[in-house]
Amino acid sequence: MDVLQAGIGEFSVTDPDDLRAFMRTEKRRAMVDKVMPEAEAVRRYVKDGDYVSFDFSSFTRGPASLVREIIRQRRRDLWFAAKFTLMETTLLAVGGCLRGVDVGFLGLGQLIGKWVQDGRIKVTEWTNGTLTLRHLAGAMGVPFLPTRNLLATDTLTYSGAKVVQDPFTGKPIALVPAVNPDVGLVHVHQCDIYGNARCFGPGVSPLETAMASKRTIISTEEIITTDEIRKEPSKTTIPYYMVDAVVYAPFGCLPGGTQGIYEMDIPHFLEFMGASRDEQKMAAYLDKYVYSVASHE
């Protein structure tokens, strides 16, 4: 395929055949109980050096308690998909967990920006839409998807996208590579013990994230019976076989909100944003909200 332009950002491609081989042997088709404490889920499925993806946003239905557990277990060299991780990217950076991020939106606070300036955190440029599209490509088992976004920008230059001539219209078009995270983190409203999960309200890409990821950890507000699931199959967002671990975590999004259950904790965000300008203050913030507690429970 004639490549007109290729971005120079750091990224890795998963060969769809390697992915398939993993999915064949590692994703359990049998319905087995996957409920476990967050500490165990993170210990089992998040390794140093992993690419980690996060569904939705710091403000709404983000898996905040799982991110805190990753920091608590001091994972290192993670690469993080930063879309709406306004808060989490900064926390992971301060926690020393990050090697780099796919941006998206880098996150709130001046600290994270400073660390990118210093080269302490590597960055590859994308956009919210193309990063989400990369998850869709990953979920579809194809190596790329086409888009008209990114074209003619420095964002593309420092991404991993390629520009080719569309063989149907002859016009230039961007191809973004699939991303297949080592671990996807999704917070849901309800699920059963096997991982059949429901998200309500508008969303980013819970299904795409769960399908694209090699390992998917879900945290849930509520555990319901499989009978309930079978009564209203239209409500199922993620089928169980995409899920590796189920963590029972009511209020697991705090300080963000979960639609229909609780709103975000604005004073907490203001406290975070106050701290996020300064390394010492952030360290104190982490001590207070992450290290000093044993778990979300």
């Binding site: 398939r20 999915m23 088709r29 299904l207 079978r230 089928p239």
Partner: protein, 265 residues
Amino acid sequence: MSDVEFSESEFMICQCARLIQDGTLVFIGYGMPQIAAILAQRLHAPRMVQVYEFGAVGALPETPFVRFTMGGPRNCYRSLAWTSMNTIFAQAQLGMVDMGVLGATQIDRFGNLNSTMLGADYHRPGKRFPGSGGANEVLTQCWQTVIVIKHERRRFVEKVDFVTSPGYLDGTPGARERAGLPRDTGPWRVATSKALYGFDDQTKQMILLGVLRGLSVDDAIKEMEFTPLIAERVEELSPPTPEELRILREEIDPDRAIIGKTAAD
């Protein structure tokens, strides 16, 4: 031939059902495979998960079985999720679907399938059939594909008139992978009204694995245009058991619309 009379369809359905393993995700095609899936689920594979191209995941179809419909309420009863076609085929492409079950008009030595047309000239077909439907996707994407086909000479041909769905192509090592097809996939078993075939690991040629009790190897291969490989030990395939027949005839298809009637009826 057997103590109980049974129809060719009943034997094909039972063969197919026996090949479905418990705890797997199986892509269920239209008609006979639907019956086979229900049968397997009631016997040895209670935890197999049926997926349909119409998006139903984990359906537990109600019986008696309603003909024709795959997307209707009785077939999609008590599903775990109702999704859509693009989602289901994406999951197959991701490598999540363990097995698929297909019919075909013709099959060749290397498991290439034709369900499109007969004749030498595509533009002037001798006979035209419905085409791929979802068959191409199934044979492309599922880890193992079972082909259910009536045992007739005209169906087992040296070279199919039209490759609707890809088998092992010309049989050369790595032919599927070179074409860009998913690694380690392809036709796995061919279940007929008389016999059961697999494919040789090395040559990718069809190999006779078993014949229905009471039939000889020759009974099977004489009704094929090409001669398949023959397994060192050809298995004897049991006819439908009384329990299989009871479930088929009493629970699933009391009108025998799909399983067919026997001479005894």
